[in-house]
Amino acid sequence: MFLWRIEVKDKPGIFDAIGEGIKKDILDLGINTVWDVRFVQVYNIKGELTEEQAKRICEELLVDRITQDYYLNPNHNLKNAPNNFIIEVAYNPGVMDPVEDSVLKGIRDLGIDSVTSVKTAKKYIIKGKLSPHQLRIISEKLLYNKLIQHIVKSRFRESSLLFGTEPRYQFKLITLDLLNASDKELMRISKEGQLFLNLFEMRAIKDYFKRLKRNPTDCELETIAQTWSEHCIHKTFKGRILYQERLKDAKLLVKTRSSFYINNLLKSTIMKVTQQLKKPWCVSVFKDNSGIIRFDKRYNICFKVETHNHPSALEPFGGANTGIGGVIRDPLGTGLGAKPIFNTDVFCFGPPDYPFYKLPKGILHPKRIMKGVVSGVRDYGNKMGIPTVNGAVLFHERFVGNPLVYCGTVGILPKEKSFKKPKVGDLIVLVGGRTGRDGIHGATFSSGELTHESERISSGAVQIGNPIQEKKMLDVILAARDIHLYNAITDCGGGGLSSAVGEMGKDLGVKVDLEKVPLKYEGLSYTEIWISESQERMILSVPPKNIDRLIKLFKDENVEATVIGEFTNTKRLKLYYQGNLVCDLKMSFLHKGLPKRTKKAIFIQPKFKEPGFACPDDLTDYLFKLLSNYNICSKEWVIRQYDHEVQGGSVLKPLVGINNDGPSDAAIVRPILDSKKGVIVSCGINFRFGFIDPYWMAGSCIDEALRQIIAVGGSLKEVALLDNFCWGNPDKPDRLGSLVRAAYGCYDIAKGFGVPFISGKDSLNNEFKLKNKTIAIPGTLLISAIAVMEDVTKAISMYLKTPGDLIYIVGMTYPELGGSHYYELFGKMGNNVPKVDVNLAKKIFSALNKASSLGLIKAMHDCSEGGMAVTCAEMAFSGNLGMEIFLKEVPFISKSPIPDSRSQKRDDFILFSESNSRFIVEVERKKQKEFERILKGIPFGLIGCVSPKKDFRVYGLNGKICINANIKDLKVAWQRPLRW
């Protein structure tokens, strides 16, 4: 027989965890008429097998005989019986089945070689009372995503669908008539080809080919579109901008003029900090796949953060999965290759309790997106054996249509492997996974806005990763690196081979024979091969004398390595398919031919209504509400799903405290297990401040990332920053205006702190188009920071340690409630956004660093979302100890350091202001004098002490209790919202 179907299900009496999980999710949808869900794993196997062989495959491989039963070619009907519904979900044709490779290997290991293909499906047997409508809701909301999967309707049709073969590709050179095209036709060509090129760019291309007196091939046009996409070349950040500011106070201008031209925003702000600071420990910045700094005498470390927003909106699991997979390849493709040592992730979603009826068409519910994204990161990061140690999760309505998924990876590499240089005559070697039709147009897709039709048009941009393929590849690449087998390496990310090979060879010249690229299946055209964004692939530049050794090394660990071309000295990109020239472009045009246009940007300072309410007498309730705010509450449900301890280097974990469930400020990792040297990683993000002023949002993000480093015992001596701007459409002047202002905030504050940027990335066009309006995300800046820590045994954690110890606040509190979570409780925004007094902050940071290195600090936690009240509560319940706080001891100034309205001193303002550069510190009584001596000249207050009881008490300015709560209750409030 040729086609076999195997169904595997748990034996009666075995707890069906997957089925039970789905039952719970169905209940979450508000459907309470389901009493049982069973999960059945289906394997469809193609191959000439005897019944005995098929049974052997089941019993020896596919079935766990202890807990599972199986049916071989069962006659079960797919039709639903009353109260018994069967839903079977299979992958769409062309979507990689992530399990196929392993199952095929497993079957071959049994000595059976006749199986050619395996396709899996998931079958759910749902028992309950359900209307067809409810059944459809369950399927669509929980069980499948139509972009990559479908519901099996008929068994017969299914097998031809699953195993249908692609027609062979017949070569035919395609050219597009640009020479005779009108502007209208140019734009039609751009749109139909999903090139996302604007008219000016299309005209420039037309002019280029006019000079050549010929029309471009489809491959040439695609190559230009990929190279010129926002994703690859960052034309907004590097282009020309006319910027205007309208502010109520001229002192707030980023420059002295209210309008000026910027030639290259990146070079005028972010990169300028680094250039001016000239830190000797910055090894390679803004040129490689990630930024490199010095770690110790033998090693450097590198860091990159990327976003994968649009794919995650459409297919959360696959989008996040390939997002983390992609950023892992950045350090791996840095210098001659770095070993990834940890990941970071930061997400912004719509509120998890967003009403279903408000959800626009074509959009997945925020909770489903969040669950899918977390699973995607979990799957890839854990399987790669890279600990995920730091991150943040934030929520806002404007992320409903366009979530943000930031993924970062830090790598370590030997000092002498920090630079790459491909040489003329080197062979271009493609290693790793095979090339398929997946991910076509990912780079250009990310350069447009999402619409409800995105799921239809751009489904090719969505894919699923294969982490084990990447892990295998990583292992061999590092081995090849250590025996010097190649001269350069880079990853295939957005734009696929087009971008990887084109970029690596831009100073030399490239010749590639596209038919040599190993394919997943037949039928790909030369252009598809060239621009496919199939995952888990890297490009090496290998001297011919090393090629045999290199290919053997890869083969030894079952990783494909294929020579697809060579680097030449022609300064041209030449591509062939079966001997036919399909692309011949000058490197200079490709990389420098993008026409520069001036974009308009304007920032008009918004004016929000100042809330006029009086200070409530009892603030206990407000503290509870803040702790339960989605942005503030515990993210344990997310963090636990990540392996944050693999590689053994974790020194300060993301969850700390007596019960390992408190929120750590930053993570510390020791990459070299027999050394005391560590890496601290932290992040700052707060889009709410950006509603008021993006400049101070940037300042606050930098301050937050840096103060977290201080809070865990680090110093500012060797700290590097990364910027990730996620913004709306940069062609709209208001979006671009706020982006520019944020970039200037980055420059001023980072420069003030003396901390350089080493890498960054922008993701623009984060907008969702509805019928007649567009919803842009709030402009969201993520600042990630890494610091080298000389001695990790000096680390500080955030939870209270000993009853009787003293509690200090260090830093100045201002009535900066603008954009605070406290005001949000009242539905207000306010205007007095937190500022950064860099000179004071630097003094505070360095004093606290001195105190922690002298061993004077028992616990320290920075004040951020929810202000000092939330900080103190978190310290208390994480240490399972009470606290008494006296607000009259908190240093407070009614006027901000930057001109702003004056406001009064009130209990709630002191407790919930989100002023920057502040810390709560626990100090042993006998160290009081020494600690206070170090803080001389810095605002601080001895505000209370650690109590042995479980009460959390705050005494207001009038001496009366204004917060009185049990720490257990506070903890429950903080843990409940996202405990799924």
Partner: protein, 259 residues
Amino acid sequence: MRKARVCVLRTAGTNCDQETAFAFSKVDAQVELVHINRLIERKKALLDYDILAIPGGFTYGDDVAAGKILANELRFKLKEDLKRFIQRGKLIIGICNGFQVLVKSGLLPGQDDFKQEASLIINDSARFEDRWVYLKNFSNKCIWTRNLPEIIYLPVAHGEGKFVVKDKATLIRLNKNGQIVFRYSDEKGKLKSYPYNPNGSQDNIAGICDETGRIFGLMPHPERHIDFLQHPHWIKRKNKEGDGLQIFKNGIEYARLYL
């Protein structure tokens, strides 16, 4: 003195190989990371080593079921070598994914010839979880857990760690033979349910050994707690050796004395 020789086995998806090797080298073993292809091609011989360590990870993606495909590879491609290795009284340790491999290949609990008698299946919570757990030591037989305090503290990080046996008789036999090595407990040694028992394991079982006490497998990661800095509360406790280190010491000590 001759150093004990350790083979840390790796293949596609292995990912705790380096820290496992580091733990062995810290107790003065001679460690080698060996890809399974080299053993199958006979370029390396299993019998040249005293200890086989199968580390954590997601071998072959844990596709089909955790550890299954590597377990089959051992059963079908290295069976004779493994039999001889065991006959000579050598040692095997499987950690996390390695434990799953040992159980699914039938090397643990190891009554019949490579026949699976137990399994490690998906956690009751239906998701991967990373958390620290207390383990109570129940075995006098296992050579790997000698001289350990009664309760130790190690992290688990897995999605398929729920230990189940074929039938009641197997469980009784394991108990009677002293093959149950670790059970999940609270800090005082009391057996408790989730989250103390992080995956819903039958009888709270976290690790077992074979009848000789020389083959040992466990879901928690001793290699992630060999140094005081890895303990979640090290800042409060200061300077104590990691609980997991003794396990590696025991293996090396045994190999030195008897192999």
